[in-house]
Symmetry: C2
Subunit: 187 residues, 2 copies
Amino acid sequence: MKLTRQAIKDVILIEPAVHGDERGYFFESFRKDKLEDTLGHEVSFTQDNESLSSRGVLRGLHYQLPPYAQSKLVRVISGEVIDVAVDIRLGSPTFGQHVKARLSGENKHQLFVPRGFAHGFIVLSEQAIFAYKVDNGYAPEHDCGIHFNDAALGIDWQLDNAEISTSGKDAEQPMLLTRQQTAPDTL
Amino acid sequence: MKLTRQAIKDVILIEPAVHGDERGYFFESFRKDKLEDTLGHEVSFTQDNESLSSRGVLRGLHYQLPPYAQSKLVRVISGEVIDVAVDIRLGSPTFGQHVKARLSGENKHQLFVPRGFAHGFIVLSEQAIFAYKVDNGYAPEHDCGIHFNDAALGIDWQLDNAEISTSGKDAEQPMLLTRQQTAPDTL
Ligand SMILES: Cc1cn([C@H]2C[C@H](O)[C@@H](COP(=O)(O)OP(=O)(O)O[C@H]3O[C@@H](C)[C@H](O)[C@@H](O)[C@H]3O)O2)c(=O)[nH]c1=O
Ligand SMILES: Cc1cn([C@H]2C[C@H](O)[C@@H](COP(=O)(O)OP(=O)(O)O[C@H]3O[C@@H](C)[C@H](O)[C@@H](O)[C@H]3O)O2)c(=O)[nH]c1=O
């Protein structure tokens, strides 16, 4: 298992080591000790989620405000997605910037998305099974979003707008700067 | 999410609640709080594993002796398996008995297998992706097994012997009573 800090250094890319044999394969998909070694602090995941989505589905960009903020460890079990983590930590030198990773059942890469980031992904394959851990519970009343096409973020989602489908909620998410002006000290 | 104690009451069957919509589905595949409520004690999972196996592959029966014993929370992401947990707790009124569950990507059922149990599964579908959590690290030198066909266990694996394939190691595992006579106070 290889863990590598990304351009925004609190985001970590994880590449598990896969053991193949005549039965199939085996790999360790999560090692709390190794993640904490790289992070330099503890992380206690308390919930796992799984979603299935068809090609063009974009889920995001989502985050929960403190005290409900969540770190996420995200991966793809089958299919392929572009995964995006946007730094929305007020005062961060990389505020508004993002890290992007291609996660697939093939490469088995994972992304650690810290608290203070908005997260989303788009499905490039016919279908994708997406799985992730969070270290804080779901708080529907504090479930916030940013519009995926916010020009200030400049995210290349790699599919044409006409191919992209979102939930009703995600089609109406505010822009990051709107959000920041509304709640400047809570991000 | 529904959690139900099984005939051997420390084994728990978990049935998540799946939310479907036009994008696909979403479900919470693990809730530490709900599992601990049902168990009546804490459980701290520190590692996740994933394996892929083809039809007829049988992995098991495996366990690690204390202080390396592992609780496991097991599930199937795609495909179908028969999952088996054998009570090997010395002095247990159900010693040698087992709980069996059909786990599939379809039903999304999970089984909580406590410490003191040997665990194994057989793949019924063309392929199956199996995923599980453990609450204690892998200790290869303390990785123990029982032969899946031990007559004293009487497990119906639902496929003919000719269709079953195992690792070399699992083909040579000892019978439970042999293991018990060898190390009577360590189980
Ligand atoms: C996130 C979540 C949703 N749900 C329910 C609410 C809805 O009925 C259904 C779908 O919820 P939605 O918010 O539309 O799912 P979604 O897949 O769009 O939301 C997810 O998107 C990812 C990009 C983020 O990283 C996640 O943190 C989460 O926000 O699942 C839970 O029960 N528990 C949860 O933890
Ligand atoms: C179990 C394990 C194996 N490995 C490596 C060792 C081998 O190179 C490869 C395959 O290991 P095996 O023991 O043959 O895999 P397996 O799939 O036969 O073993 C598993 O069977 C399940 C029924 C049990 O519940 C598990 O606890 C485990 O014993 O993976 C790890 O790196 N970490 C681990 O935690």
